[in-house]
Symmetry: C2
Subunit: 181 residues, 2 copies
């Protein structure tokens, strides 16, 4: 009968790509980036843009833009070997490195800005407290605000540690992640 395995592979790619798309878009990336990365990750050979477009049912334009964004995040790269006219792409497989970079460049920035702004809000209120030392509303708000500030700082340190490979008993995870490539 000699039918080949294409259909099963297509099915498996579609299932995983959709799953990955959901996870990745929860983390604020575009779903199409997740789909494309997954396709690359599951392909034994580098894949060209037109094949990506066909398999993911995205337009050539979207594929081009998504690939660039994936490459900017270090999640994919051009296959240096393919000397062909067509460019072919491969997925970055070191997931631990990926996670680390994303956490550092995005979450850390986000939380860092939050820390700054809570600090600013505290300052505003402290200023007001000088003028109105007995204002209960101000005192209460200041106390709560300091709480939020602490929380943001804890979050920052947590993310920072995660980014710098973590303290927090993450080594078994790292091991498992590195086994993935």
């Amino acid at each position: 009968m000699n039918e080949n395995s294409r259909d099963a592979r297509r099915m498996a790619v579609r299932l995983s790509a959709d799953t990955m798309a959901e996870i990745i878009s929860f983390w604020g990336f575009k779903a199409s980036m997740g789909r494309i990365w997954t396709l690359l990750y599951l392909s034994i050979e580098p894949v060209s843009a037109d094949v990506i477009a066909e398999e993911t049912e995205l337009s050539a334009g979207m594929v081009s833009m998504s690939l660039q964004e994936l490459m900017q995040w270090g999640l994919a790269s051009r296959d240096p070997l393919s000397t062909d006219r067509k460019r072919r792409y491969i997925a970055e497989t070191d997931l631990w490195a990926i996670i680390r970079r994303i956490v550092r460049e995005r979450e850390l920035r986000l939380v860092g800005r939050a820390v700054e702004r809570f600090k600013k809000a505290v300052e505003v209120l402290e200023e007001a407290q000088k003028k109105h030392p007995d204002d209960r509303d101000v005192a209460f708000m200041l106390e709560r605000l300091r709480g939020l500030q602490d929380l943001a700082q804890i979050g920052y340190r947590l993310v920072e540690n995660l980014a710098d490979l973590g303290q927090l008993s993450l080594s078994p995870i790292r091991g498992a992640l590195s086994r993935l490539s």
Copy 2:
């Protein structure tokens, strides 16, 4: 001069509410929920819907819907004391409990579904491998797919542990969080 502290408080609330809105919408909640929760959290007295609408510049409808969603997540509740015609609302302050609940009810579901679906994809391919035992593409894809499955499972356990108060040296964090209320 006897001017009061309203302006400074408004300013501080706005700053913090915007900050919180940004963080919370990164986590997939609506920004307006973050604003409202922050206003409640920083107010010494329970706050009525019309005041919320005024301070946050949201419509009455949005305030109503957001409050319901906040209450569904246990992030706010009606003030049981106010016997007034107007209902007044207060913020849940036990941030650790909040985080735990959200992680358990949302992230755990999300990651759990991912685990299921990767498993399904692996099954599809294993089926194909029976028919085509020597297909290199299938073998390769299956290997990678198992990697993703492992990753999802690690993620699941991580989230699960976090939800059940964590193992992972989280106790200092918990302490700090509990000091916030």
